[in-house]
């Protein structure tokens, strides 16, 4: 394996691994905090059990996320020293803000996980809210740095060196808003769907368990609302990509010929050598509308970009299709859930449908499939650049030889960690709590 490919593979693998834990780290604290808030309001013990159960899962996932995130912050330099040497002073800012957000998250998570008996209930709820907010902020800051790689602003290049650096302008780059919005919603939607799917699975075996009903409702509220809003943020992001990275947009769509009133392709296999996409369903004018808000807008095709500046089209196109497909499916499931909830909430019957629960189980992994393919779209779609239009990935890589060794090492390590994490989470999920027996509060909190 060539060193550049090994470096890219290691980065891709590290990111693909970390993003799962990062997304859960953003969304789970929100779910826990909602559950605890409901407990404080209703005094219904089932919500306390729920918050504590979710907190255990979050503790495991957060630890893996924290260490894999540490690995990434070093890998930026270990694998791409020339990139960091060039860009550190421009985009270090969001990373330092992320540092503090992560600090806050770690501090209050410590208080949340180990402070049940040590701080008053309101302070405990506040700690949970702080974890939720700082977790979301951490994600936002890191995605801002990634957005800058797609739409670099805040500097001028003179003799190949960045001058007139403006870190604030770099943070406010044109991709920042839509990318952070899209990723934050994705984290809530994906996590909400997985959690809902797990509790739907448990409800299929134990239909009247109030614990799982309560859990499913909260998870679906967070996941469903996000999944319904997500296509809107996706549209904003696509319009931003059309402006800042037209070649990436063309790759999303396997769009080779520049045309006015371009059609939107569903499915299809791009043939890069021949410059056509086969077997796709085309919806006339839709691509021009989606990209520029005008049915007659010209959408530039891949053939009009130099071959050396094009990303690998087939991977990007297929990944894009999978992401959009998952997103649309999740939106439809959420709309159905909303409709069932509005009609059936009074008699608490909205969850009493075998098919609805089955669908939630099937839909559980869709959000994470969308996140993984979405990052493939973003990252592979930016190739051959590490900083779009400024620095090529091949220029950024470390001179270190034998990069296949760390790539394989981290891959094996992460497969091992993933297996253990799944096993430990299954242990946590396995037992369904019943309605708790009335016990004094002290004993419950000590549990």
């Amino acid at each position: 394996m060539e060193d550049l490919l090994a470096a890219r593979s290691q980065m891709a693998m590290s990111l693909a691994f970390h993003i799962i834990f990062a997304a859960i780290g953003i969304a789970m604290p929100l779910l826990m905090t909602i559950a605890e808030w409901k407990w404080l309001r209703s005094k219904d013990e089932i919500y306390l059990t729920l918050a504590q159960r979710w907190a255990k899962g979050t503790a495991i996932l957060f630890a893996v996320g924290a260490v894999s995130g540490t690995v990434l912050s070093f890998e930026l330099g270990l694998l791409w020293p020339n990139f960091m040497g060039y860009a550190g002073s421009i985009i270090g800012m969001p990373f330092s803000l992320e540092g503090f957000a992560f600090f806050t998250e770690a501090i209050f998570l410590g208080i949340y996980l180990y402070g049940w008996k040590r701080v008053p209930p309101r302070a405990h709820l506040f700690a949970g809210a702080m974890v939720a907010v700082s977790g979301a902020l951490s994600g936002i800051f890191v995605v801002i740095a990634n957005a800058w790689m797609n739409a670099p602003t805040g500097f001028r290049i003179v003799d190949g060196k960045p001058l007139d650096i403006d870190p604030i302008a770099a943070m406010l780059n044109p991709a920042a808003f839509s990318q952070t919005l899209h990723m934050t919603l994705a984290a809530y939607a994906a996590t909400g769907f997985v959690v809902a799917g797990i509790h739907a699975f448990m409800l299929r075996r134990d239909a009247n368990n109030r614990f799982h009903r309560a859990a499913l409702a909260i998870a679906l509220l967070v996941g469903g609302v996000s999944a319904i809003l997500q296509p809107l943020s996706g549209d904003t992001l696509a319009k931003s990509v059309a402006r800042t990275q037209p070649v990436k947009l063309a790759a999303f769509e396997g769009h080779f010929e520049t045309e006015r009133g371009a059609a939107f392709r569903i499915g299809g296999i791009p043939d890069e050598a021949a410059g056509v996409t086969h077997y796709s369903i085309e919806i006339p004018y839709l691509l021009s509308i989606l990209a520029y808000g005008d049915p007659n807008a010209v959408v530039k095709g891949l053939n009009d970009f130099p071959a050396s500046n094009r990303p690998p089209v087939a991977i990007v196109h297929v990944a894009f299709q999978v992401m959009v497909g998952c997103g649309v499916a999740m939106m439809l499931v959420s709309l159905w859930a909303a409709w069932r909830y509005i009609r059936g909430r009074r008699n608490q019957k909205w969850l009493d449908s075998k098919w609805f629960l089955r669908l939630l189980i099937v839909a559980a992994p869709l959000g994470f499939i969308a996140i993984e393919t979405g990052w493939v779209v973003t990252e592979v779609g930016r190739q051959p650049w590490i900083i779009n239009g400024v620095m090529r990935t091949s220029e950024a890589v470390t001179p270190m030889p034998g990069l296949i060794v760390p790539f394989l090492t981290f891959t094996i390590l992460y497969i091992f960690l993933a297996a253990i994490t799944v096993w430990l989470l299954l242990r946590q999920v396995a037992a369904s709590p019943r309605d708790p027996e009335p016990k004094p509060m002290e004993a419950r909190l000590a549990a």
Partner: protein, 330 residues
């Protein structure tokens, strides 16, 4: 004082805090490995209780060091990450195994064989990671990392697979173990447990002294400029004097079982050792070619970073204090 010097100072301060707090968490892992005697289980429980609520927050100091380094001194970060790719990668593997094994142990089956297996991973990673971390810092101080026109000339091994950086690595391990043992004397509730960690503190304190001497001797050829800085400049004598006072103070207070004072002395001793190194290396970030000013980012980045650090500190320290008050008061 130029901004970049202030920011380098903040970076050293973060490193000191990482050593005092995160370092002690590694040290806890070391004592988990060497838990023995009739109270081995009680020792392990105490260590786990001491580490659990705080280790993830303590670990962020290291992230802060890295983030400051790559924001304020990007070429220095690029140089270190290139030349020390291998030891840093090994440190990362250690960090991953240490953190995950510790958490997995908490949430896995509470059966002895399962727990022992995770303990072993956790404690061995806690033992090896500080050695590699110290080796990395030793290599940065050694003056053997050389670039010519942006190309690394000193190779990927030569600057760290030599005696001096490894001596620094073992020195770091001894310091972390010493800190942890001293802190645990304060946290232990039962007298016998306190005695266990008192003994460990005294033994590791002796190891600290011996390894400090070894590092100093090896520095003669291993890191001549830093050694010259430590042993010749005007402030060096005062610094050594204070380090010695606190080192002796730590011993005396441990001997006389004034644990709270011992903790202060040990922390001060470690702080002064790190400051001594930082001052001796000043103004170089990576010996001998990369200085604070040559690697500094443009002024505007430094201004914004310093603003962010100040604002972040205002947010951070009250929360951090709250965390420690909840779990470490009494």
């Amino acid at each position: 004082m130029p901004l970049e010097t202030i920011i380098a100072g903040v970076m050293v301060a973060s490193l000191v805090l990482y050593a005092l707090l995160g370092g002690a968490d590694y040290g806890g892992g070391v004592w988990d490995l060497f838990a023995f005697g009739p109270r081995a289980r009680a020792q392990r429980t105490l260590i786990a209780e001491a580490i659990s609520p705080v280790w993830e927050a303590n670990h962020v100091w290291l992230i802060l060091v890295v983030v400051i380094l790559f924001t304020a001194f990007p070429p220095a970060f690029a140089a270190i990450a290139t030349a020390l790719h291998i030891p840093i990668t090994l440190v990362l593997i250690g960090i991953v195994l240490r953190g995950t094994a510790f958490t997995f142990r908490t949430y896995d089956v509470q059966r002895d064989d399962v727990q022992r297996r995770w303990s072993l991973v956790f404690s061995i990673a806690s033992l090896i990671t500080p050695i590699l971390l110290g080796t990395t810092l030793g290599a940065i101080a050694s003056g053997t990392i050389r670039f010519e026109n942006g190309t690394l000339m000193s190779g990927f091994f030569r600057s760290w697979i030599v005696p001096f950086p490894f001596a620094v690595g073992f020195f770091a391990l001894a310091l972390f173990a010493f800190l942890a043992a001293v802190y645990l004397t304060v946290e232990a509730r039962e007298r016998e447990l306190q005695e266990d960690f008192r003994m460990r503190a005294l033994v590791s304190g002796v190891a600290v002294g011996l390894l400090a001497l070894t590092v100093f001797i090896l520095a003669k050829t291993g890191a001549p400029t830093v050694r010259a800085g430590i042993s010749r400049s005007w402030w060096a004598l005062g610094l050594h004097l204070f380090t010695a006072i606190f080192a002796v103070g730590a011993f005396v207070t441990l001997w006389t079982r004034r644990y709270w004072l011992a903790r202060v002395c040990a922390a001060a001793q470690v702080t002064l050792i790190l400051l001594g190194w930082a001052f001796a290396q000043f103004p170089n970030l990576v010996e001998p070619d990369i200085t604070i000013s040559s690697a500094a980012a443009p002024q505007i980045t430094l201004e914004l970073l310093l603003g962010a650090l100040a604002a972040g500190a205002i947010l951070l320290f009250p929360s951090y204090y709250y965390l420690f008050r909840i779990f470490k008061a009494e």
